[in-house]
C-alpha cells in the first residue's frame, strides 16, 4: 500500500502531543483517575498498562475529548480539550474499548460515512476506504454486513475506521482484549506497521506481552494512579531481577514457607508466594534451582523464565494484572 494511513508529524522534535499534569477524573465521589502526569512525544508508542478498573479508559476518554476533566491540566496537540475539542478530535483516530461500528451499514459504508463525519467525501473517501480495507485485510468483506464479522474482523474494521482521517494521534483502548491469539497477532502486526511508519500510538492494555511488543514507553497504572514509568526494559531492570524461578509445590505442601527460602540473598533477591506457586526473583535461575535442591525442597515443577512486566506489576502492587 502506497499511502501512509496517518499524518506524519512535521517536526518530530517538537513539543509533546499530549501533556497531562495532575489530570483527574471523578465520577461523583469516586476518583477514577487521580492526579496523573504524563507526556507523549510525537512518533512515540506510549502505553497505559494496568488491570481492569485502573482508570485507563477514563484517561483515554479525556484525551479523546469525550469526557470533561475533573481536575489538573490536559493539552492534546497543544490544545485544551475543553475549548477545542472539535479541532482536536478532527486529528485523532480512536479505537474505543468496545467496538461501536455502525451495524446498520456495510463494512465499506462504515468507512465512507465516517469519512463524511470528518468532512472527507467523494473520490477521496472512496480511495481511502479501499486503501484502508486493504491495509486491515478486509477488502474481500467490503460489502458484508458488520454483525456477522468475527471479533477480530470487527476490531480490524474499527482500526481502519480510526485511520480514515489520517490522524496525527491514534488512541487504542485495549485493542486486542477478548480476541483469540491468532487475531491478536495479526492486529499486533498491523499496529507495528503503523508504528514503524512513524505513527504516534497511545494504547491501553492489561496484557504485558502486548505492552512489551508495542510500547516504546509506558506507565503502569493501578487504582487511578501511575505507579511507574519507563520503557518495558527499564521497568524490568529497575523493579525486578533478570530471571524468575517459578516453583510449583506438591498439593500437600502448601504450608507457609516457614523460612525454607530465607537467606538465599544475594542470589535470590525476593520471594513471592502466590496461591498456586512460589516465585523467586534471581539473577541466576540455574543457581537458584541448585540451592533449593540442596535445601531439600522438592517442587513438582521448576521453571526459569525472563522477568516480565507482569512481575513489575506484582512487585509494585502486590497483585497480578489479569485475574
Amino acid at each position: 500500500m502506497a499511502a501512509v494511513p496517518f499524518a506524519p508529524v512535521s517536526h518530530p522534535s517538537a513539543a509533546s502531543l499530549i501533556s497531562a499534569r495532575g489530570l483527574t477524573k471523578r465520577f461523583g465521589d469516586f476518583t477514577a483517575v487521580d492526579a496523573i502526569d504524563f507526556d507523549v512525544a510525537p512518533g512515540e508508542s506510549f502505553g497505559f498498562l494496568g488491570p481492569n478498573g485502573a482508570g485507563k479508559t477514563s484517561t483515554m476518554r479525556m484525551i479523546g475529548c469525550v469526557s470533561p476533566i475533573s481536575g489538573g491540566t490536559l493539552r492534546v496537540l497543544g490544545l485544551d480539550p475543553a475549548a477545542d475539542g472539535r479541532r482536536i478530535r478532527a486529528q485523532l483516530g480512536v479505537v474505543p474499548q468496545q467496538d461501536n461500528l455502525d451495524t446498520e451499514l456495510t463494512v465499506r459504508e462504515n468507512l465512507l460515512i465516517y469519512a463524511r463525519y470528518f468532512e472527507i467525501g467523494g473520490p477521496d473517501a472512496r480511495r481511502r476506504a479501499d486503501e484502508l480495507l486493504e491495509f486491515v485485510q478486509l477488502a474481500d468483506r467490503a460489502e458484508s454486513e458488520v454483525e456477522p464479522l468475527s471479533g477480530g474482523l470487527k476490531r480490524r474494521l474499527t482500526i481502519a475506521r480510526a485511520l480514515i482521517n489520517e490522524p496525527t494521534l491514534i488512541l487504542l483502548d485495549e485493542p486486542t482484549t477478548g480476541l483469540d491469539p491468532q487475531a491478536r497477532h495479526l492486529l499486533w502486526e498491523r499496529l507495528y506497521q503503523l508504528k514503524r511508519r512513524g505513527a504516534t500510538l497511545v494504547l491501553t492494555t492489561h496484557y504485558m506481552d502486548e505492552a512489551e511488543q508495542l510500547c516504546d514507553r509506558l506507565v503502569v497504572m493501578d487504582q487511578a494512579k501511575i505507579v511507574a514509568e519507563g520503557s518495558p526494559r527499564e521497568l524490568i531492570e529497575r523493579h525486578v531481577t533478570r530471571e524468575v524461578l517459578e516453583l510449583r509445590l506438591p498439593a500437600d505442601d502448601q504450608a507457609p514457607l516457614d523460612g525454607r527460602f530465607d537467606g538465599l540473598e544475594p542470589l535470590v533477591e525476593r520471594v513471592e508466594q502466590r496461591p498456586d506457586r512460589v516465585l523467586l526473583y534471581t539473577s541466576d535461575g540455574e543457581a537458584a534451582v541448585e540451592r533449593i535442591h540442596e535445601r531439600g525442597v522438592r517442587p513438582e515443577s521448576a521453571l526459569i523464565r525472563r522477568a516480565s512486566l507482569e512481575d513489575v506489576f506484582l512487585r509494585l502492587t502486590g497483585r497480578t494484572l489479569v485475574d
Partner: protein
C-alpha cells in the same frame, strides 16, 4: 515540553450544527436498503381516510367547518390525517430507532469521537425524522388531491406545516427517548400517541368536547397541527394560524435543546 504541538493547518472545521447533514446522509444510506420499511408507514393514515373518512363519512354527512359553513366529513378528516401522518412518521424515527442507536448500537459514541458534537447528532436525527414525517404527509397530500379533498390553493402550505409538525414531534419524541431505560418503556409511548391521535379534534370538532376537556385538547400539539392543516386545506387563513405555528415551533425548539443536553449527559460523562 509545553510549546504548541504541530497542528495541521489545512484542517476545515464546519460550524457546530453543520455536521448534522452527515447524520442525515447516514440515515439515507441506511434506508436505501430498507426502503420498504418507509413505504409501509404511508398506508396507515390512508386506511383511516378510506375507512373513517369515507365509510363513516357516508353516515355523518357534513358538519360545520372552521368558518361555520357545513363541509363534507371527508374534507374535515383528511387534513387531520395528513397531520397525523406527519406526526407518526416523525415518531417512528425519533423514538425506537434512537433508543436502539443510543443504548445498543452505540452509534453516537462513534460519531462523537469525530469533530461532530451532540448538537449535530440532535439536529441530524431530528431532521431525518421530520423528513420521514414530511414524506408521508406529501404522499398523503397527493392522495387527498386525487380524491378531490383539497379545497384551496392555500393547501400547498400544508407541506411546510407538515415539516413543522414533524419537527415538533421528532424533537419531543427524541427528547423523551433519552429517558427510556428499557424497551417496555415504549408502551408508554402508545399510551400517549393513541389518545393524541383520537382526541386532537381529529375526528370531531373541538366544540363537541365537554368544555373542561376543550382546554386539555388545546394543549395537544397534534391539535395545533390538525387545526393548521384543516384551515390551510379549506383556505380559512388568518393571523390565528400563527399561534399554531408558534406553539409547534416552540415545542420543537425546546425538544431540540433538551435532546442536546441529555445526549451530552448520557454520552460525554
Amino acid at each position: 515540553m509545553t510549546a504548541p504541538a504541530p497542528i495541521r493547518d489545512f484542517l476545515v472545521l464546519p460550524l457546530p450544527g453543520m455536521g448534522a447533514r452527515h447524520l442525515i446522509e447516514r440515515s439515507v444510506l441506511v434506508y436505501r436498503r430498507i426502503w420498504l420499511v418507509l413505504v409501509s408507514g404511508f398506508f396507515e393514515p390512508l386506511f383511516y381516510l378510506l375507512g373513517i373518512g369515507f365509510g363513516l363519512g357516508a353516515m355523518v354527512g357534513s358538519l360545520p367547518g372552521p368558518d361555520g359553513q357545513p363541509i363534507p366529513y371527508q374534507l374535515f378528516v383528511a387534513p387531520a390525517l395528513m397531520a397525523t401522518s406527519a406526526m407518526n412518521g416523525a415518531i417512528y424515527d425519533s423514538t425506537f430507532n434512537i433508543f436502539f442507536k443510543l443504548n445498543f448500537q452505540r452509534t453516537y459514541e462513534g460519531v462523537l469521537a469525530t469533530p461532530l458534537g451532540v448538537v449535530d447528532v440532535a439536529i441530524g436525527e431530528i431532521a431525518w425524522a421530520l423528513i420521514r414525517g414530511t414524506l408521508y404527509a406529501i404522499g398523503f397530500f397527493v392522495v387527498m388531491f386525487v380524491l378531490g379533498l383539497v379545497a384551496s390553493p392555500w393547501a400547498v402550505l400544508t407541506i411546510p406545516a407538515a415539516m413543522l409538525i414533524g419537527f415538533a414531534f421528532a424533537a419531543v419524541g427524541m427528547a423523551a427517548t433519552t429517558w427510556m431505560r428499557k424497551i417496555q418503556d415504549f408502551d408508554l409511548l402508545a399510551l400517549v400517541q393513541i389518545p393524541l391521535f383520537l382526541f386532537s379534534a381529529t375526528f370531531f370538532p373541538l366544540s363537541t368536547y365537554p368544555a373542561e376537556l376543550q382546554t386539555i385538547v388545546q394543549l395537544s400539539p397534534l391539535y395545533h397541527g390538525v387545526e393548521l392543516m384543516r384551515d390551510l386545506t379549506l383556505g380559512h387563513v388568518g393571523p390565528w394560524l400563527l399561534v399554531h405555528v408558534a406553539y409547534l415551533a416552540a415545542l420543537g425548539a425546546l425538544g431540540l435543546l433538551v435532546c442536546s443536553r441529555r445526549l451530552g449527559r448520557l454520552l460525554l460523562k
